[in-house]
Amino acid sequence: MAASVRLLVRRVTRLSHGHVTVCPSGPSGPSGRCCWAPSSCRCFSDDRNTHFGFETVPEAEKAKRVYKVFENVAQNYDVMNDAMSLGIHRLWKDTLLHVMNPQPGARLLDVAGGTGDIAFRFLEYIRSQRERQRRHVARSMQALSWKDISDVYAAREGGEDGPRESRAVVCDINKEMLKVGKQKADSMDMSAGLSWVVGDAEELPFDDEQFDIYTVAFGIRNVTHIDQALQEALRVLKPGGRFMCLEFSKVRDPVLARLYDTYSFKIIPVLGEVIAGDWKSYQYLVESIRRFPDQEEFKRMIEDTGFYCVRYHNLTGGVVALHSGYKL
């Protein structure tokens, strides 16, 4: 499989760059790499390291290990979220939706959406908005002329809901998480307007300028190259589109910070072991939170990518930060 991937990448770089010196029927194995022109070496340079929690690992390995972590936790993910955050994660996600305030007809891309929490909330919100609009229209239409009534009937027959239906696409690199999410959707009967795609946040399988809103909730710290994920977010958003990111961040208040640290390092992995039978995954989780940049630095990263009006709200004293930016 590695050989076919190499073939594939070779073909892609040949298409994208004008000239690449490629060995004819290159020898398989690591020695084949040295034939590549230096410009195309980037994808194979695994001498660069990155962090995996408090460990240092080669970049190529991080994605694999993160995949393993989420494959292990997928079945218990929602239960663990409730246990670890004492249910507060629901409030965080509800806040995200309120700040987003999506209008009917909006298209959402939820990256690293896994079990689909944000997408479900989005569809619910839009549905209740629609109901509110309908009620408002009905109330204002109390005294109608015959012409108005016939217009309403014509419009209803012509096309339900007039403007576009809103749509939510959940994209995640991990098949297990999406499977759990899809099962949830089917059991809650919420599959209308919802799509599931397995994809890489650093290389989204979507065309340019397709989405009104891009969200990533508690997923961006697991991405190996955060700046690439941000670039892709900018690409797939329409002009005027909004980027929103919920992520664990730094707590300013020292007392709260100490409490939070104790809770994170002493209680969460134990909960992970007791409930999910997996200490190490939850150890990775709390460590990866510590390695993620703080509010200001992440804001700078988002601005550097090309988003405007970037701001953040601290939730629960800074445990979670909601960053938002616009593509103009």
Binding site: V180, G199, D200, P205
Partner: protein, 115 residues
């Protein structure tokens, strides 16, 4: 010191009860997912076609992650084909898998390596 003792106590308890607890808990935690799984199995068998239908509405904005070009849905093999690069992305359980490493190379008459 108390913290160390407490920690040891916890790990000991956990280790002793882990197998029992894990089994019991998995029995507790999984029935809902089991129920859903069996429900969807029944649905699939009832429906006849083994893979659930793929939502072709997605094709409007789904593209190949490598070349960003549109894809063609092949119903027979249940895959999304990028003609230009000659790769096919599989669809499992109605969810398209757009990771390049999981894609299949389509062998054409002119071998791919020659060009």
């Amino acid at each position: 010191m108390f913290r160390g003792v407490f920690g040891e106590f916890v790990t000991a308890t956990v280790r002793v009860h882990r197998s029992l607890r894990h089994e019991a808990l998995s029995r507790v935690v999984n029935p809902s997912s089991l129920f859903v799984r069996s429900f969807s199995d029944v649905k699939d068998e009832g429906g006849g076609a083994a893979p659930p239908p793929f939502d072709t509405g997605l094709l409007h904005f789904l593209v190949c992650p490598l070349s960003k070009k549109p894809l063609r849905y092949e119903a027979k093999t249940n895959e999304l084909i990028n003609e230009e690069l000659g790769i096919a992305y599989p669809i499992t359980d109605g969810i398209p898998n757009m990771i390049p490493q999981d894609a299949r190379l389509i062998q054409k008459d002119a071998p791919a390596t020659q060009e």
